[in-house]
């Protein structure tokens, strides 16, 4: 199988995945991705035309509960993990000029 990922698709994938393209590593990343995709390419030899996809191994519907508050978490227990948090706000770089 030809390499499925080239430098152009790697740029697109990095943008979609919000991962940086690391200088000097793109060849190694390309080789690593194409190696995995060559392995998974073995799937292509199987005829699956009339097979339904399986998303849940037990084919159960997800159990739902009433859409109401049943428990709360102390906000400070959550915000203590935020790298930049002040006065109830999570800080990000300026978005609107």
């Amino acid at each position: 199988m030809n390499d499925l990922v080239n430098e152009t698709t790697l740029v697109e994938l990095s943008t979609l995945a919000a991962l940086p393209l690391e200088p000097g590593k793109s060849k190694a990343t390309l080789d690593a991705l194409n190696e995995v995709l060559a392995l998974v390419g073995q799937m292509q030899s199987l005829d699956v035309a009339n097979v339904r996809p399986l998303a849940h191994p037990l084919e159960r519907h997800q159990s739902l509960r009433a859409d109401s508050v049943t428990e709360t978490i102390n906000p400070s227990a959550l915000s203590q993990n935020a790298p930049l948090y002040e006065a109830g706000l999570y800080f990000v770089p300026k978005v609107i000029e």
Binding site: L4, L33, V36, M43, V51, L54, R60, L64, A77, K94
Partner: protein, 486 residues
């Protein structure tokens, strides 16, 4: 009694008879961790103070005759389970300072049953790996030979139990991450039916595959822990509602007439001859116990690794999208803008294997490739499930090797990802199908533990544990301990 390698049953008796106190037992393991873990690196964090506090409360309960099933039993928990107020890292720089705001359901259930958590064990980053070499906190060493890997991703949990640093541990299994390290460290490890144990509070890798389970010295111990980890949880929408049997109370009957399927696809070219010899001998033991061996085929097994390495990365790319450097996790310094914040925080916070799998998953889900990869993998998943459904019309349990080789040297496969991925070739199909499966010690190959994998039908952990327990009544492999560990 040798406390180092005592079973849960032995420790329960010793605690109730006041032969040892929970405080003495907890201190015993903490002392061993101090002495032995620097060479193994099986723990990421130790909770000595909270463990000793819990042990004090356990002793008070024992004195009052108010002990719960696991009161005073010190265990270790894979560092993928959130424990409120404690650091929970998933083996990643991304979460190296993360303090869990709540406790995972299965960890809470173990605590409710009286178990004491000694600390959090090392693991491949976000459970992605088969050798425990992908941890931000360094590789784990196998107690049987510190030059060797312990298996992964629950390698720390396996090494800690094998070295006698705790009585038992918890692990998680997405494609073999309980069974393969259990095999390589000479333990019993069980991945239950998908949905048996709540995933709430367990950091997600691939949500349709992730399952927690026990890692123990014996099948009886695995049954005891499973009883207290399993059960419906309304906080996990995939949690099963079926009642949890008292697995430990139905291990005793013999297995005469048990039909064991021997899957021919599990005896392939890459299988180490010494491992195959041990597995064949284990099957002969089963025959001597009255079981019938039945030749079976799971014809789509050769496609399981391919399908898995599409489905798991696809789910991981979605699950790990939550790490943005804003609400929690690593944040880069001086970001130029929002996109730069996302990209550099994720680039710096994730390790190489995690980034690779995110990119593979992003590719499999991207426009133009979705049908050819993700959709096709889900169709193959159905074929693999149907293989098991058909097989279980004729057999009760399926047996074969857990891993193709015994533990291998650290670094040996680190530069060959495909070879590393093939370590899980025998465990992945049960994960894709969602059926319960376990590994039990079944011999030695070149002086290293070999794991026998037993796979059961949906929700049939009971017969699986019974088959494992009866094997352990007839063999001594589960009693062996690493030669270097005192």
């Amino acid at each position: 009694m040798n406390l180092n390698f005592a079973t849960l049953t032995d420790l329960q008796k010793a605690l109730r008879n006041r032969d040892v106190s929970a405080t003495e037992l907890t201190q015993h393991y903490l002392t061993r961790i101090d002495a032995l873990d620097p060479a193994l690196n099986s723990f990421i964090s130790i909770q000595a103070e909270t463990a000793l506090d819990a042990a004090g409360r356990a002793d008070a309960r024992l004195a009052q005759g108010d002990a719960r099933p696991l009161t005073g039993i010190p265990i270790a928990q894979k560092d993928i389970f959130c424990l409120q107020g404690h650091r929970t890292t998933a083996g990643s720089k991304m979460l190296s300072d993360f303090i869990a705001p709540y406790t995972a359901t299965c960890s809470e259930k173990l605590a409710d049953a009286g178990a004491i958590t000694l600390g959090k064990t090392n693991m491949d980053e976000f459970a992605m790996g088969s050798s425990n070499e992908n941890s931000y906190f360094g590789a784990v060493h196998n107690p049987w030979d510190p030059q060797l890997i312990p298996g992964g991703s629950s390698g720390g949990s396996a090494a800690a139990v094998a070295a006698g640093l705790c009585a038992a541990s918890t692990g998680t299994d997405t494609g073999g991450s309980i069974r393969q390290p259990a095999a390589m460290c000479g333990l019993t490890g069980l991945k239950p039916t998908y949905g048996r144990i709540s995933r709430w509070g367990m950091i997600a890798f691939a949500s349709s595959l992730d399952q927690a389970g026990p890692m123990t010295r014996t099948a009886r111990d695995a049954a005891i822990l499973l009883e207290h980890m399993a059960g419906h949880d309304p906080r996990d929408s995939t949690s099963l509602t079926e009642p949890v049997p008292r697995f430990s109370e139905s291990l005793g009957s013999n297995i005469k007439g048990l039909r064991i399927g021997v899957c021919r696809e599990f005896f392939t070219e890459g299988l180490d001859p010494a491992v195959e010899r041990s597995i064949r001998e284990a099957l002969a033991v089963y025959e001597s116990l009255g079981a019938t061996l039945v030749d079976i085929s799971l014809p789509h097994t050769p496609y399981s690794v391919s399908a898995y390495y599409v489905i798991a990365p696809a789910e991981c790319s979605a699950n790990l999208a939550r790490f943005d450097g804003i609400r929690y996790g690593h944040r880069c310094s001086d970001p130029e803008n929002l996109q730069d914040l996302y990209q550099r925080s994720r680039g710096e916070g994730f390790g190489e294997e995690v980034k690779k799998r995110i990119l593979v998953g992003t590719f499999a889900l991207s426009a133009g490739y979705f049908d050819a990869f993700y959709h096709r993998a889900q169709k193959i998943r159905r074929l693999i499930k149907e293989d098991f459904v058909q097989a279980f019309e004729h057999v009760d349990v399926i047996a074969g090797p857990t891993a193709p080789t015994p533990a291998f040297p650290l670094g040996e496969k680190a530069s060959n990802p495909v070879e590393m991925y093939l370590q899980d070739i025998f465990t992945i199909s049960a994960s894709l199908a969602g059926v319960p499966a376990m590994s039990i010690p079944a011999g030695l190959a070149n002086g290293l533990p070999v794991g026998l994998q037993l796979i059961g039908n949906y929700l049939q952990e009971g017969p699986l544990l019974q088959a494992a327990h009866q094997f352990q009544q007839a063999t001594h492999w589960h009693t062996l301990t690493p030669p270097e560990v005192l």
